[in-house]
Symmetry: C2
Subunit: 389 residues, 2 copies
């Protein structure tokens, strides 16, 4: 259903010859046909941010975006002034096509860092995508396919509010770490909302979703999440319901990224409870989520609690106060670590499900936080050792 | 040459039946026969530190250690009061054998977390090791073999000072990250030095060696580095020379750990220059060293500078001020990234040597720092997915 689930949006995905994979759809266009063109964005904090990020950050700053053009097959990152000129030229071409100002066009790119895009292909692709625009499921699906890189499947969401809709698509598979994951995401709604309302909803939604997943601890140069509102439903939503739906859309798309993590054989949910603050819980959950040793053990179906507590033990006491002797760890519901030492036998843990639940109780307070990650497999190494060489 | 290279030390390594590998040497004993028994130690900062670490930290606090007993085959970590009793019993047995107080015996363990040791085997092994003590190369080599776990080779060092000697051994292969690596290390000297001098030399030496290597970002519960002085040479060393030799011994042993990193096919030296401070340089080098994506790319012989700068870009500006547009990156002497963008073609880089040199110039100041890491290979995943399951 993707971005076209909400009324007022058309989309397309075409093969523009940008990707090195012959015939792959690699260019997507999402157009907001109004009546509103409200928009909000959240971008990577990486200091080597890509040209399209530099462009789009400015474009969305006034709360208005008419269209988003996205390409896979090249990140246009670390490409200097020439790269920026490419993003600008792309925006201008789309602006002419849709009859808008270039400053209301967002540009997103994903792929290899350090190389310019084949600009002719991008601009010709933009025209082809404009001619292919549609408002049906197929058009939304084409767009979701066109932004995939190492993703093995498209990732979309569609949610019904009270008289309005929220739809979205995301790409992301490797180089996934907070803050933000290596990802491009467009969420659309036909609710009647302002850019300010959108920004508040998006910032909150991203904070508990895309900022709490970690495939490989690597932060990208191109991460972009956009939220666009057409107002086509004519419905002014209840603020709480709307914020909740946006958060739910972000959470669903983030969960789909983890489900398609590069080479992953297990999706791992790490929940830390009993912390003195949410920040403390989050620091502990992130420390565990970033352990290569644990991620390898999980890929070998080993609920190795020693690797959980040794990661937990790296969090400084001033960040997360707790007594190591009070810590318990449950894996898939079996308490294999009790009072900081061995609990029930690890052989009791059923590791066959794809989803693995690690529940850590620090026994120090009432706050909690959850982070999702993937296991570390031979396939992850294969994908990333053989990617462009 | 190992720990017996310095005069006044005897050592042994025996198969005590602690390891699950039949017949593997798994227990080492190092005895300081004096006339001095000065000692210093540096230990893991992990909050789930193992029982032997808790014991040895106290034992070395007064600057005197007569003997060190080390076992592989079990970490005795997260084993609670029972684990501590095991370390204490082990120290008492060694104390009786060598005619010392138990408070002057250090205990080190390495292996699986969360299980008690087979104490009878440890105590019987201590007696067997005592009977096997020798001051020759073979005895030092046996001890270095006995502390190996996933290490594929023993790691030792021997250095000549002006009339005195420094020798040492280390184990460590996976779960290697600053602060300290997953490692046990004993360095010996026959110089006439006090515990305070030893501690100063060791702390400084560790800071620029073991604290600057990172195999997999995982900090252990058992890390211990001990420096023992017998005074048997009768020589009071020049302080600068002595500190330099200790630092050199630490650097040699740390480098050997990287050379034997789990599954590694490349040893990667990351040097950051042009930083505003050493801390800034170090933060940048550590960020690059911890990138799984880069480590996979290197294992695929791909000098992927995009993954270097995207890691560099995650270091906050307040930690390391620099302008992304001024950054250069050389891999094995070829400047493949210039002014934050593409430089010479990456195909010019010869990636066949085991040692890979990544030189990053931030162009912001005069400070620099170096960190060593390994690449991330199929073999690393294999070792850690299949380790005890």
């Amino acid at each position: 259903m993707s971005v076209t689930f909400a009324q007022g949006f058309t989309a397309a995905g075409v093969a523009a010859g940008i990707s090195s994979i012959e015939g792959k759809k690699d260019l997507a266009l999402v157009v907001n046909n109004g009546p509103l063109d409200a928009a909000a964005g959240v971008f990577t904090s990486n200091r080597f941010c890509a040209a399209p990020v530099q462009w789009s950050r400015v474009a969305v700053a006034d709360g208005h975006i008419r269209a988003v053009i996205l390409n896979s097959g090249g990140a246009n990152a670390c490409t200097g002034p020439k790269g920026y000129t490419q993003s600008e030229a792309t925006a201008k071409t789309v602006a002419e096509l849709v009859g808008a100002d270039a400053s209301n066009i967002a540009v997103c790119s994903t792929g290899l860092i350090g190389e310019l895009l084949p600009l002719d292909h991008v601009l010709d692709g933009a025209k082809a995508a404009y001619l292919a625009l549609g408002d049906d499921d197929a058009a939304g699906s084409d767009a979701a396919h066109a932004i995939m890189t190492t993703d093995t499947k498209p990732k979309t969401v569609s949610l019904e509010g009270s008289g309005y809709r929220v739809g979205g698509m995301v790409k992301g598979s490797g180089m996934i770490a907070p803050q933000l994951a290596t990802m491009l995401c467009v969420i659309t709604t036909d609710a009647v909302v302002s850019g300010g309302q959108l920004q508040a909803a998006l910032t909150a939604g991203v904070d508990t979703s895309f900022n709490r997943i970690d495939v490989d601890g690597c932060m990208s140069t191109n991460d972009t999440v956009l939220l666009l509102a057409s107002g086509a439903s004519g419905v002014e939503p209840d603020a709480d319901e709307f914020n909740g739906l946006v958060a739910k859309a972000c959470a669903s798309l983030a969960r789909q990224i983890i489900g398609d993590g590069e080479g992953a054989s297990h999706d791992i949910r790490i929940t830390v409870t009993g912390a003195t603050s949410e920040d403390a819980a989050l620091a502990c959950a992130r420390a565990v989520a970033s352990s290569n040793l644990l991620k390898c053990a999980i890929s070998g179906n080993d609920p190795n609690w020693g690797r959980i507590v040794s990661s937990l033990g790296t969090v400084p006491a001033q960040v997360a106060p707790y007594d190591a002797d009070n810590v318990t760890v449950d894996v898939n519901g079996v308490r294999i670590c009790e009072n900081g030492g061995a609990g029930r036998d690890r052989s009791e843990v059923d590791m066959t499900p794809r989803e693995v639940h690690i529940d850590i109780d620090l026994g120090a307070g009432d706050a909690e936080a959850t982070v999702w990650t993937d296991d570390l497999t031979h396939e992850y190494v294969h994908i990333n050792a053989d990617y462009e060489s």
